[in-house]
Amino acid sequence: MKKLLFGSALLMLSGFTDLAFAEEIAAPTVNKGDTAWMIVATVLVSLMVIPGLALFYGGMVRAKNMLSILLQVFVIFSLTAILWALYGYSIAFTEGNAFFGGFSKAFLAGVTPDSMAATFSKGIYIPEFIYVAFQLTFSAITPALIIGAFAERIKFSALLLFTVLWFSFCYLPMAHMVWYWAGPDAYTDASAAEAAGATAGFLFQKGALDFAGGTVVHINAGVAGLVGCLMIGKRIGYGKEFIAPHSLTMNMVGASLLWVGWFGFNAGSNLEANGLAALVFLNTLLAAAAATLSWLAIEWLVRGKPSLLGATSGAIAGLVAITPACGWAGPMGSIFLGLVAGAVCFWTVTRLKHILGYDDSLDAFGVHGIGGIIGALGTAVVASPALGGTGVWDYVGNAVAEYDMITQLISQSWGVATAIVWSGVVSFIAFKIADIMVGLRVDETSERQGLDITEHGESAYNL
């Protein structure tokens, strides 16, 4: 989760003149342990994308499209990294209105090795540069997740165009809405908290909890994928021809890299290397394990055989579901959430997809969209201190606030609904623009031949 970074210029602009506040922020310190952890966490999230996600997805397509998936993920990572530095970070994480930040840090203006970003503890900071890099990796994996929905048929140029539009008008505002706040130091007393709260993002103000990106990353990407696969249409031969994964070995290697990288994604979102980071770490591990087992068990019962693809899919579903909840759930709550996510996502990808008849090639919506919704709503349940959760911290009272599950569930629903509507609308428009400008889909001959040769002039394998 995100915080506000306090460049000294922003501090001066913030206008809180309260003496106590001024003293508190007078000597903020960067914690070296936290800094080291955030560097490691950023490496881990990068690993999730390249090669983790690329292999996880790539293993599920046919050999003739393997290279296209690897390249799509690789290039989306590079492209969003640059966009993030140019304007993405500024729009997501500087003060603006409730939906978009401003351009004060465009081109990373004013960010220096001495700039600091707030954590979740008062007076404790990390270097802003590593915060920029950490958040960059989140903005990179999200558009890369979407490609699973329309794998094996999208035109590369259309994908890049879509990525730029979607990143700018969907990812950035969602990140701002959910994660932008003034940082804990601004919450000195009730009136200061109110003033600081008014500058936060729309969903932050609604009280929607999203520790590591259930709404911003997963629902956001899943819905975009659903819109994409509906607009692009089914693959040629879908439901008739043998369209099976070409390498479940690659898929398993990718899923495992995702799982390991997710420790950086979730525990890194704590921004500090402390006890809560340890809880997040354990929650992440347990939820993925529980979802693996529940998916596999149901598959075994219903379909007769336990499959590797079922195990890897279950693990990812569990990781997705725990993502928004990982900082507020207890270990048992995480297991519960994982069990539910594995079972429900199994149903969506094996049944719902066929009932509704869309071709979400690699189940970007079925796993990330649905898993994200389960996680976002489930956060309201597992966060409850009565159920072993940590509750929600009150930065004014400096204690855990009173917890009401129904109130929280309403807040969470705001997050889910906003993500669905915002991503649905922006994705539709972005795909339309890409379609009009370059066409979304390759021609039939190219699709038959495979995107590797026709789009990129290479083969993944020359055996």
Binding site: F242, I243, A244, K305, S307, L309, S313, V349, K353
Partner: protein, 112 residues
């Protein structure tokens, strides 16, 4: 001369090669092939997608033999490739008009 084409279960390939060597056959050509016969395929499930795999992998062995060896060769293959289960494969015997050894230019049975 005859050309014997035997389609057998892949794991029987070594046994067939050995049996043919034992009766004096000095060379065979092997191809990995797929096909279907009376043996049913199997189904594969990938998440929600169910596929019936009709074409099963087999080994195709081609061996050219002198007329005197044909019966013995066919018997040997049948003996070692037989598991008694459906899907053991088939043997086709066809006339062979000419054989040439490329290195020496020898032809006919000399070239076998």
């Amino acid at each position: 001369m005859k050309l014997i084409t035997a389609v057998v279960k892949p794991f029987k390939l070594d046994d067939v090669r050995e049996a043919l060597s034992d009766i004096g056959v000095s060379g065979v050509t092997v191809t990995e092939v797929k096909g279907f016969g009376r043996q049913k395929g199997h189904t594969e499930l990938y998440r929600g997608a169910e596929y019936v795999v009709d074409f099963l992998p087999k080994a195709k062995i081609e061996v050219a033999v002198a007329d005197s060896l044909v019966e013995q060769a066919v018997e040997s293959i049948v003996r070692v490739a037989n598991t008694g289960k459906i899907g053991d494969g088939k043997i086709f015997v066809t006339n062979l008009e000419q054989v040439v050894r490329i290195r020496t230019g020898e032809s006919g049975e000399e070239a076998l």
